[in-house]
Symmetry: C2
Amino acid sequence: MDHAAPQSPAGLRTTPSWLLNQAAAHAGRLISAGFAAHDLRGYHYRLLAALTESGPASQADLGRRCGIDRSDVVAAVNDLAGRGFVVRAPDPADRRRNVISLTDAGADEARRMTDTVARVQDDLLAPLSSAERDELTRLLTRLLEHHSRG
Amino acid sequence: MDHAAPQSPAGLRTTPSWLLNQAAAHAGRLISAGFAAHDLRGYHYRLLAALTESGPASQADLGRRCGIDRSDVVAAVNDLAGRGFVVRAPDPADRRRNVISLTDAGADEARRMTDTVARVQDDLLAPLSSAERDELTRLLTRLLEHHSRG
DNA sequence: TTCGGAACGTTGGCCTAACCAACGTTGGCG
DNA sequence: CGCCAACGTTGGTTAGGCCAACGTTCCGAA
């Protein structure tokens, strides 16, 4: 936390990709700090959120849903299973797959992390009015939609 | 370039910190791709931009200006000096320091990279109108300003 | 004037997020 | 049946950022 105001070259300071990078980096620091209390990280939260929303799924499905690589899902699920937030069971209908399901403790943790995330958003967006927050969300969503449709 | 539309959990899809992260990741991919043609990376461009704007500086100064760690500046300056884009000379007025100066070739390369960056911005912001681009820039700038003042 | 702390460049490390290749297993389809 | 695709898993690599330590050099306060 040096906040030594990295006053990058002026040319960069007005470059959207640079601004995005810096803003995302800052958001990431806030998120990390928030998640540290849970001793979990972004990966874990994304998986818990996906499971909360859509119920049990295979690891490959989870990876696709969360934009996480198959191989990274393995490690994250290991962690979550080790803490009892998730159960990994072979899929009887397709023995290639594991079915990952949320436990009660996992559902609780997901709720707590969601609260943490909400608090971080408030912190992150503090300088913006409610309308501006919506506008920012809208613009970013448009950007991502455009770039995710081949 | 899979653009397999990472359709993250809906809860995440509207979370600003997540959107920022995703948008920045995409911008980063575009920037990296653009810089690959120069066989240089973000670090190098930032340094060249700072030197172009403010003239010769010590490595520590450059690091502070660009938000790059001292130790990372060393490696980046090594690269740039090895390609003749930059000259590293001891500061006669303070023998602890090196003065880094742009060569003519370095100034040229900086211009070319600036062009590349501009092209990437257009690509990145394609779905947004000019007014929307300004609005996005404004919002992100406000965010960063707020969070960089202790 | 000396002495202690601060800044400098440098080395060497460590961590996170992301991605990729390969392998053996399993499923499904021609 | 035979082949290809999907699955989970292991074991990498990369870029980016950060930190600790060291010897050198500078400077200000005793």
